[in-house]
């Protein structure tokens, strides 16, 4: 399908234009480096998942690793998501650091029992005797006609599960640093990548480094409005912020990097300045990341707010497969810009 590749290529070229220094590589190269470095640093780390050693190598992220590290450390698995997830839990308890790749988060729905009943709770349930250092990686598959069962962004479903960590990078440098932190972490960590970021280029430091969890970062500074989000939604928000900046609306854009742990302080700090909050997410708005972040601010930082919180994620509707409906379903930069204008104009007009 040429049209979809063209789409992702276009995304890949869009944002690296901002003045950056250092080595520029793309997202999958950064992840490939991260996986390689993790496997070199931790002899107990191993990589498993459907297709991790096949020629396409998980968007290229795992390509060549089986040859480099051997089939005992990099291996394909049967289509048994619950079983494999439980196997990762057991291996982790026994001192290994399993890294389980899934092509798409949709397939994690088959592994919920092991993720929620075991991976996340074992350390608590045996009163700290065991740890479960495992990484589950999956790339959200929006587009390509993937539809209702192949493009789900399920981070919101998992946000309320104590014991899990949820990582959602938006830049190549973070993808690498957060991945290395995930492997170093002694807890079950879910990394939700986004397929539309896979060709995004950016400056990525060489060698081993980790990016801390629970520490958001300002991607843009402004006084009028705070935009908070992660992953591809954050990238769209940045595009929108660029657009409205030309019209004089200056926004704080905060990349949370991880939804769990959540950097509440950076949100409060920004909202205290701007008084306005827009939360963006790749998932459903109802009960998801948008809802939680909006609630946290309403609960703990209400005095800072000068206007109602807005959120922009997915409606309470499954993803359609058809490309025309997809365009209605998914918010784009234009729609985000429209919401920014509404929120800021209300401010200027004194609602």
């Amino acid at each position: 399908m040429a049209w979809d590749e063209a789409l992702v290529n276009k995304v890949g070229e869009e944002h690296h234009a901002a003045a950056v220094e250092g080595r520029i590589i793309d997202y999958t190269q950064a992840l490939h480096e991260a996986v390689t470095l993790a496997l070199e640093k931790y002899p107990e780390a191993f990589l498993l998942g459907q297709g991790v050693d096949d020629p396409s190598g998980m968007f290229g992220v795992t390509r060549g690793l089986a040859e480099k590290f051997g089939e005992s450390r990099i291996f394909d698995v049967p289509l048994s998501e619950e079983g494999i997830t439980g196997i990762c839990v057991g291996a982790a308890i026994a001192g290994m650091r399993p890294i389980n790749f899934h092509n798409r988060p949709d397939f994690l729905l088959l592994a919920m029992n092991q993720l929620i009943a075991h991976a996340s709770k074992t350390h608590f349930l045996d009163n700290g005797q065991s740890t479960v250092p495992m990484v589950v990686w999956a790339a959200i598959g929006r587009g390509w006609g993937s539809g209702a069962q192949h493009s789900q962004a399920i981070q919101g479903l998992l946000l309320g599960v104590p014991g899990l960590k949820i990582v959602m990078p938006s830049t190549a440098a973070d993808a690498k640093g957060l991945f290395l932190q995930a492997v170093a972490d002694n807890n079950p960590v879910l990394i939700f990548e986004h397929r539309w970021l896979m060709k995004k280029k950016g400056p990525v430091p060489e060698g081993y480094y980790t990016t801390a969890f629970g520490k958001g970062v300002y991607r843009r500074r402004g006084k009028d409005l705070t935009i908070v989000g992660t992953s591809h939604a954050l990238q769209l928000a940045l595009q929108a912020a660029d657009e409205v900046a030309k019209e004089g609306f200056q926004t704080d854009v905060i990349d949370l990097r991880t939804l769990k742990p959540l950097d509440e302080q950076i949100i409060f700090e920004s909202v205290e300045k701007t008084g306005r909050l827009l939360v963006v997410d790749t998932g459903w708005m109802m009960g998801g990341a948008c809802a939680e972040i909006a609630c946290v601010v309403a609960e703990k930082s209400f005095h800072s707010l000068k206007a109602p919180v807005r959120r922009l994620g997915l409606p309470d509707v499954p993803a359609p497969a058809g490309y025309s409906l997809e365009q209605i379903y998914y918010p784009d930069a234009g729609r985000i810009a429209k919401v920014i204008r509404e929120m800021c104009q209300r401010k200027n007009g004194g609602r």
């Binding site: 191993f46 005992s72 698995v77 049967p78 048994s80 619950e82 079983g83 494999i84 997830t85 439980g86 196997i87 990762c88 839990v89 057991g90 291996a91 982790a92 308890i93 026994a94 001192g95 290994m96 399993p98 029992n113 092991q114 009943a117 075991h118 074992t122 350390h123 608590f124 349930l125 045996d126 009163n127 700290g128 005797q129 065991s130 740890t131 479960v132 250092p133 104590p162 014991g163 960590k165 002694n186 807890n187």
Partner: protein, 340 residues
Amino acid sequence: MARYKYQGLGYQGMEKLDLPPDLLVSMFFSMLRIRMVEEAVEAKYPEDQMKTPIHLVIGQEAAAVGSAFALNKEDYSLISHRTHGNYLARGSDLNAMIAEFFCKVTGCAGGKGGSMHLFDKNAGVVFASSICAGSIPVATGMALSSMMKNEKRTTVAYFGDGAAEEGVLWESLNFAVLKKLPIIYFCENNFYSVQTPLYKRQPDGVHLFEKARGFGVPSETVDGNNVIKVYEAVRKASLRAKQGGGPSFIEAVLYRWRAHGGAGDDSKTGYRDVAEREHWQQVCPIELFYRYLLSRGLLDPEKRETMRAKIDKEIVGAFKFAENSPLPEERDLYRYVYAE
């Protein structure tokens, strides 16, 4: 009328195996200890100091003990919800178990787990799950780890006949055969899942161990009331595992004397015939083994009484320990949600 009957042959011909007398007596002691602990728990349960669901293993002691005694200290046991026996048989801490039932901070899970989450890492009881079949893939992963680290270690996944209806058992078996993992899938088939008999859940005539065989795993059924037969089956399977021969499946056929949960038998509610339970009580695993040891001159009534007195004392001490232990505090609630 008993739908499910004892099909075993008792201890006929068992002396040919020539097991060390000390081992046999120790196994008897362990079975008796489990029975007496369970009876004590049951007797005290109505006092409501143990605010945790209990799943008594009375009637299933031979399988717990035979399998545990066939393992080495370094081997792993992963257990399920009806597991007081699996826990105790490996020599785990009785004080910590009773304290956990009392939800005390000195419990094996600090009062956070309850009766379905018994652990004693020092004794090899490394994981427990109250989700049916939940611990099976976890056990498989631990066996994978042993293989990757080149350790000579057997892992045993304990589960019941109900767990054999969960897909993840078969996912795990497939993977274990594929990777030749050093693991034993040990199914305690007691014919009932809560109050639902096996025939309502699995077709008659299709035996569990034969299904497993279809996955390419060496598989057998053993008399779960015969501790020596269970011991032999697990010993051989563990040896095969450690020699790189891969997984085994063992179905131990036995019977749950008590209700699914709580104290006493609930047969009178009608889901099974009281006569069936009485039939199995006639082939009590402890009594059968005692008679065998008596016939071989390895035990006598006096020795058994000495054992009882010793166990009684231990049980009294464990309950005292539990009663006197403090409850966890608020700060304990927030500990160990995440590891450092």
